[in-house]
Symmetry: C2
Subunit: 369 residues, 2 copies
């Protein structure tokens, strides 16, 4: 592995609004970034993607990954950048053989379906993921202190879904069959995933990530009871191993469980700084439940971005008003980071995103006035 | 239309456990039926389906629809039958041209995308749906009083999703674009759908349905706020028009919003008898929120049925224990109807279903002992 990047290698941060909000410190306005902001809705992304030839060609090339990560930062006054990568890099490094067929989702050549396949699993050598850490350092340098850089990983459960199903799924039959009929195997996969994810995120932090996010994209498909045992417990296992500080700076952690709104009280007990919320959650209720122990991130329906700029403004204000006035004084209190409730659609008009960012910045300043 | 079936045409009911539980009356055990119980997991269903030639050939033929509705009742000691039909019969009768391509989901030839298409929509002549009402009467006769028959419809919002998208969707972009950019058009569609669904369910009741269920399969994809305005309000509009009694018998109504667990308190205000719950909901918490105003129906993850019979028994007991001891005395109180949290998978081994039904009946008798 590379020598961890020394902090002096990076320019000082000019916009710390996002990091302050993560740590529940007062900010002048509500920061905004968008899940999948470096993505297909931007023509400049599609141009880089075409040069790279394939999705993994894009993700594994330091220059391309840097280029696309910075594209939304160049275009919009957003408050954070997020590493361009895939959530399945870790199981790929475990030897499962990740590929992306054209127009389809990710696939693994070697799905983990039986005891023998589980027995072969191990935390991968992080050197196999060096392309990710190199990208983090390169992006951090290229950002030149404009906004902070978020690193990320899939959650242990979400990775396990893909590892067992071998691809996306609409019923999660394979992974749930294993969960209900061989819980011992499921726990073994999840323990390995959790330790791998922790090492992976810590290496991103050492490489320059200033915050980290765990995407529990499929936690919401689990039954009550199973969620706590097979998703939440292993997210907690990742968090327990995460670096909380690096090079003198605190490193906030964000956990986002899509469809996890019913378990907010339990998620409020996690040792992380921010909970991501999808659009089904009422922010006022969520704030009442967890707002004083965690910052909240979310939760506009990305489909709002297909409406007119005037309507986008109305809907953005609804989300901000639903959270209410954020903490404004000294010390820490309830804070909000504006985001979508899920990744931005590839069909989104880029100028509508500009309207959203402006509306969030303006309306949230008014909320504090 | 046919003359409504006269109650004397039907044999007296031998097993009223399901209807009693719907009305929050005490029962000796917890009744069970399963969403999509007349379906592809049964070899006898596949045989009838092959004879019928197509899905709509099956649904529109009275004899075939009767045959497949009764198949799970013949095989398992379940406590209710549910009409075999499709949730999209109503928009088909509106002239949108429903079809099912082999191996794909439903499609409409004429999706409702613009103001002109919305202007053309109207509550359809119920005579176009006579095949459904004929099936209801035929099934009711064939059941010969063994168990009650449930009629059903998609919810106004769920029908609108298919009508605007023209097919299934994974992002609901078209329908949400209309919702956010032209809410007036969306409300117009939903009002027509609600009135059509009410007429449709009332005609099923007149034809012999002893309970009715509204499937809000896609309510859970809406944002908080939008759900209340675009789904819940129109479900309420259906309920306000529903017959509560027919031929001297009360007709219970069930509302199931997949992914609606966060809105249970608001759904508790609906003028219906039963709320269906998916597997993400904790039954004890749900009972505390709404259990004394509504019966609860659900909520085993259908994927549990891929585990061993011993494990199925454990998971079924967990669901029953989570609800706790149902109402046992005179008058009304909290009651539970066992069901899956979603339709049964076509890959389910039928003997596992037998194990589930037995486990639910046995364990729920113990709970009352």
């Amino acid at each position: 592995m590379n020598t961890p990047a020394h902090p002096s290698a990076f320019a000082p941060l000019q916009n710390d609004t996002f990091l302050r909000a993560c740590l529940r410190q007062a900010t002048d306005y509500t920061p905004i970034w968008m899940m999948r902001q470096a993505g297909r809705f931007l023509p400049e992304y599609r141009a880089t993607r075409a040069k790279a030839g394939s999705f993994m060609g894009l993700a594994t090339n330091t220059d391309y990954a840097t280029e696309v990560t910075l594209q939304p930062v160049e275009r919009f006054p957003i408050d954070a950048a997020i590493l361009f990568s895939d959530i399945l890099t870790v199981p790929d490094a475990m030897g499962l053989g990740l590929s992306f067929a054209l127009g389809e989702g990710p696939k693994f050549a070697h799905a983990v379906r039986d005891e023998a396949a589980v027995a072969k699993l191990a935390v991968p050598d992080m050197d196999k993921l060096r392309y990710v850490f190199d990208a983090v350092t390169s992006i951090r340098k290229a950002l030149n202190g404009r906004v902070p850089l978020i690193g990320f990983s899939g959650s242990p459960w979400t990775l396990a879904c893909y590892m067992v199903e071998g691809a996306g799924s609409d019923d999660y039959r394979m992974v749930k069959t294993m969960l209900y009929s061989r819980p011992d195997l499921m726990h073994r996969i999840l323990a390995i995933n959790a330790d791998a994810v922790a090492q992976y995120l810590n290496a991103q932090i050492e490489a320059g990530a200033q915050a980290v996010m765990i995407f529990d994209s499929w936690g919401g498909v689990l039954a009550d009871g199973a969620f706590q045992q097979f998703s939440l417990a292993y997210t907690a296992r990742v968090l327990a191993q995460l670096k909380k500080e690096h090079a003198g700076a605190r490193i906030p952690s964000i956990v986002f469980t899509k469809g996890g709104g019913l378990w907010l009280e339990e998620m409020g007990q996690l040792d992380c700084n921010v909970l991501g919320l999808d659009w089904t959650v009422n922010l006022a209720k969520a704030r009442a439940l967890v707002g004083n122990s965690k910052a909240l991130q979310g939760n506009l329906d990305p489909n709002v971005l297909f409406a007119s700029p005037a309507q986008i403004e109305v809907e953005a204000a609804k989300v901000l008003d639903s959270f209410g006035t954020p903490h404004r004084g000294a010390g820490t209190g309830a804070t909000h980071i504006f985001n979508l409730g899920h990744g931005i659609s590839q069909h989104t008009p880029p100028d509508h995103v500009a309207s959203l960012v402006q509306a969030v910045h303006e309306h949230s300043r008014k909320l504090r006035a």
